[in-house]
């Protein structure tokens, strides 16, 4: 069940990582090794095992649905790579 170069490029697109063909080949080889190691889990029968998502059991914590204003808008916006007034500016969204 080796991972193919096409799959690598597909996953890279899902992960929003641009990748050259040479990088994809190297990545394919490394992922193949790691995934082959990981698949040792297939040896375990886990049919009746309940999955764990958090190791320390706790209920869902609820909080009041109330507004806590954050006064320092500028502290956030100053980190923007590109801004226009109080907006983050990005390249065009609908591509050709």
């Amino acid at each position: 069940m080796a991972i193919t170069r096409e799959e690598v490029l597909h996953v890279a697109r899902l992960a929003r990582l641009s990748m050259s063909p040479a990088e994809a080949d190297k990545m394919r080889e490394q992922l193949d090794n790691i995934l082959a190691y990981i698949r040792q889990l297939d040896r375990l029968d886990t049919t009746d095992v309940v999955p764990t998502s958090h190791a320390v059991e706790m209920g869902t914590p609820f909080r009041d649905d109330s507004v806590h204003p954050f006064e320092e808008k500028e502290e956030i916006l100053k980190n923007a790579p590109d801004r226009e007034g109080d907006f983050f500016r990005v390249p065009r969204i609908i591509e050709d």
Binding site: Q30, L31, H54
Partner: protein, 490 residues
């Protein structure tokens, strides 16, 4: 005390000296800043040093002392933190190009709490990029060198913090541990490092890697020093929905409890043929010292141990791929120039902004969560995680703590494993299970290799029983006295 240089004092000694007005916070801070200036260019442990801000804080703490005000147990003591904790107005990078100029609009809870306890912040410490690594070689600022041998790595990902503490450039630091990132570098640098129970220390403002595994904790030169820092940062925080609302006990007192009658489990899966001889000998010595103080060694089995690494390398990358989706060049951080459209901008920003190890893990995680593979990988790993937890639950019905090596070998050479991801991952094989089970773990120095490299013993405990770990680790440290500041003068 007079004949020991200030930078070798324990944190508790320094804190008491400030409270007793034997030394000012300014004198302490100035001494450590000048040591950082001299030592840091050679080991690269800090990525940001804050000389002016630290001196201002020290001055304020001294004025408080003059007025009889003591903020808390760290009053006037200079410490530092891993560059993964957000600090308002101080750049926070996670050692990644993608965050190189990020200036957070708020402080992490850990930062608020160490300041509330009176600590002076010296700076921010180097780390593996986004905490992904075991050698601090994936940092965009270049690797950290081990102060015990500068051709060696310090471990990772909190390698900057461990190296800085071992080099006497701060009295203690706060790191984070997702699969061993506090304990493994502590072991390799000859200092004490503790990963608390998941939920003990707030993750608010701690840049996320794998949210169900990440936990902040102290790195210090002695167990009582680690205990006092843990006490300062632990506790419930409503801003972290996974932080647990139970009282914080007196951790410093716990270090004096002793180990009489304590049942110490020795999992046979952690003591195998072919193990590094010096590691095995040092951990055996730690066991012997606990037994000499009245503890009892009990052989146990954690049968699913061999599956922990695989489980971790599905769950951690899966969570990371989701957490790191936020680095898209829109709101903060690096943005690639000249892209024609939004998707191209994001894809190039991430390709140029992330290092190789981070990309590898984002790829593994995205693959493991993608359509058609979710059940086979992520779903499977979550089930095996249950089996690993069950192993520990069964063991802790018979024993109070578990003793193992922290890392399979002492510090390895720079560049030795950097091109072989799987071999690198194996250096966390003894520390990863605790993160998957959410249990606390501590690494305490217990010996030296024949070529003069530190070796640590790991103790694992029940959920929220940090006290037993501190008691046992402090006992080992009293029985096996070792030099804690590396004999490195640059």
């Amino acid at each position: 005390m007079a004949d020991i240089p200030v930078h070798e004092w324990t944190l508790l000694t320094a804190a008491k000296a400030v409270r007793d007005k034997k030394i000012s916070s300014r004198e302490l801070t100035r001494a450590l800043l000048s040591r950082i200036e001299r030592i840091n260019p050679k080991i690269n442990a800090y990525v940001t040093v804050l000389p002016e801000a630290a001196m201002r804080e020290a001055e304020a703490r001294d004025e408080e002392i003059a007025r009889g005000i003591v903020r808390g147990p760290l009053h006037g003591v200079p410490v530092a933190i891993k560059d993964i904790f957000c600090t308002k107005g101080i750049r926070t990078t996670c050692a990644s190009r993608i965050l190189k100029d990020f200036d957070p609009p708020y402080d992490a809870t850990v930062v608020e709490r160490i300041r509330a306890a009176g600590a002076v912040l010296l700076g921010k410490q180097n780390m593996d990029e986004f905490a992904m690594g075991s050698s601090t070689e994936t940092s965009c600022f270049g690797p950290v060198l081990n102060p015990w041998a500068t051709d060696r790595i310090p471990g990772g990902s909190s390698g900057g913090t461990a190296a800085a503490v071992a080099a006497g450039t701060c009295f203690a630091g706060v790191g984070t541990d997702t699969g061993g990132s506090i304990r493994q570098p502590a072991s390799l640098c000859g200092v004490v490092g503790m990963k608390p129970t998941y939920g003990r220390v707030s993750r608010y403002g701690m840049i996320a890697f794998a949210s169900s595994l990440d936990q902040g904790g102290p790195i210090a030169r002695t167990v009582p020093d680690a205990a006092v820092v843990l006490a300062a940062i632990a506790g419930y925080d409503r801003r972290d929905s996974t932080s647990v609302d139970i009282p914080v006990p007196d951790y410093v007192a716990a270090t004096g409890r002793g180990v009489k009658g304590m049942r110490v489990g020795l999992p046979r899966e952690y003591f195998t043929e072919g193990q590094d001889a010096s590691v095995k000998a040092a951990v055996t010595k730690a066991l012997t010292s606990l037994i000499s103080l009245g503890a009892e060694g009990v052989e146990i089995s954690l049968p699913h141990t061999g599956y922990a690494l695989s489980t971790y390398y599905i769950i951690a990358p899966a969570e990371a791929s989701s957490n790191l989706a936020r680095y898209d060049g829109v709101r903060y951080g690096y943005r690639a120039d000249g892209a024609k459209g939004l998707i191209e901008m994001m894809s190039r920003t991430r390709a140029e902004g992330f290092g190789e190890e981070v990309k590898r893990r984002v790829m593994i995680g995205t693959y493991a969560l993608s359509a058609g593979y979710y059940d086979a990988y992520y779903g499977k790993a979550q089930k095996v995680r249950t089996l690993l937890r069950r192993d520990f639950n069964e063991a802790f019905a018979r024993v109070d703590v578990i003793l193992t090596p922290t890392a399979p070998t002492p510090a390895f050479r720079l560049g030795e494993k950097v091109d072989d991801p799987l071999t690198m991952y194996l250096s966390d094989i003894y520390t990863i299970p605790a993160n998957l089970a959410g249990i606390p773990g501590i690494s305490v120095p217990c010996g030296m290799s024949p070529d003069g490299l530190p070796i640590g013993a790991q103790l694992l405990g029940k959920h929220f029983d940090e006290e037993s770990l501190l008691a046992a680790a402090a006992a080992i440290e009293r029985e096996i006295p070792l030099r804690r500041v590396a004999p490195f003068e640059g």
